[in-house]
Every structure is written in structure tokens, then in C-alpha cells.
């Protein structure tokens, strides 16, 4: 899983049926990774630090539905503590 920052959102009207009603967020991987589009499973908002999972496991957040996603925001970060910082 990775930390990311929500920087915006994407709107698609034509999309896979399984994606209907799902929020598509633009997420920058922290500290300076690429931007990915992730489905929001927790109601994250703009500017928030989140963590998201990638790969097939990303779709497990919506089980038993099978959602075609490879990045899902699964938590909103309150604080991060890392030794040495």
C-alpha cells in the first residue's frame, strides 16, 4: 500500500457498469511518485492524505462486487509517525 495525496477527480459518463456510482480520484503518490486514478472507498476529499492499495487487492475493498480497479483509497490518514522525523 502507498501513501498519497488527493489532488482532484475524474468524471467519466461512459464507463464499465461496475464503476457506476464510484468516485474516481486523482491521487499523487507521496513523496513524489506518479499520479494515478483511484476509486474512493472511504469518502476522501480534496487535499487529504490517504493510503491506497494497488493491484488486484484494490478490488477486494468492494467485495463481493467485482470492480475493475487497480487502485483504491482504503483509508484517510490522520497522522504519520516515522522514526527520525
Amino acid at each position: 500500500m502507498f501513501l498519497g495525496k488527493v489532488i482532484g477527480n475524474v468524471v467519466c459518463s461512459v464507463k464499465d457498469e461496475a464503476l457506476t456510482g464510484k468516485k474516481l480520484m486523482l491521487v499523487d503518490r507521496l513523496p513524489n511518485g506518479p499520479t494515478v486514478v483511484a476509486i474512493d472507498a472511504v469518502g476522501a476529499g480534496a487535499g487529504e492524505t490517504v493510503y491506497f492499495c494497488r493491484g488486484k487487492e484494490a478490488s477486494f475493498a468492494f467485495l463481493p462486487d467485482e470492480i475493475p480497479t487497480e487502485a483504491t483509497i482504503v483509508a484517510i490518514v490522520d497522522t504519520i509517525y516515522a522514526e527520525g522525523e
Binding site: G8, V11, D16, V37, G55, K56, I67, E70
Partner: protein, 90 residues
């Protein structure tokens, strides 16, 4: 998932039978500003996307969850046509 723009098509006569009838498109990854990124990806189209359209591409094993791709040898699928990209910094 990544943002991409469709820049071409791929035609293959001999292919896995489970890929028959599927449209293969060449996608150029783009950043949220619409600028081209490195590389390209060949993705199966599940939403009838067209040339030069901005699309949402799902890669990896999750691509098989796209409609019509179950149990097919696919690792990239187009699952949405992008209408609008909003960035908070704009």
C-alpha cells in the same frame, strides 16, 4: 488506473480465441494536464472508445474484471471515457 489517450489500433488475425471480437487500442499515458507521458500500453476496449479520446485504463489482473474480460488473457482494459479532469490546483 491511469489516464491515457488513444493513439491507434492494433489488428491481429491469429490470436487467442478468447480475444476474438475484442478491440485492441494503442494508448499513450497522459498526466492530469493532458501532456504525454513515457511509454504506451495496448488495452482491450470495453466502452467503445474512439481515436484521440481520453480514457481510463486499468492494468494488471484487475483488468479481467472489466465486462467481457472474465477469464481472458488480458492485463490492460479501457473501462471509462474521460469527460473531465479536475485538479484542485487549477
Amino acid at each position: 488506473m491511469i489516464l491515457a489517450r488513444i493513439i491507434g489500433t492494433v489488428v491481429a488475425t491469429r490470436k487467442d480465441p478468447r480475444l476474438e471480437g475484442k478491440k485492441l487500442l494503442v494508448c499513450q499515458p497522459i498526466n492530469p494536464k493532458g501532456e504525454d507521458e513515457k511509454g504506451y500500453v495496448i488495452a482491450v476496449d470495453t466502452v467503445h472508445a474512439g481515436f484521440r479520446e481520453r480514457v481510463l485504463v486499468v492494468a494488471g489482473s484487475s483488468a479481467r474484471m472489466a465486462s467481457g474480460c472474465k477469464d481472458t488473457p488480458v492485463d490492460a482494459a479501457i473501462v471509462g471515457i474521460v469527460d473531465q479532469i479536475s485538479r484542485d490546483s487549477d
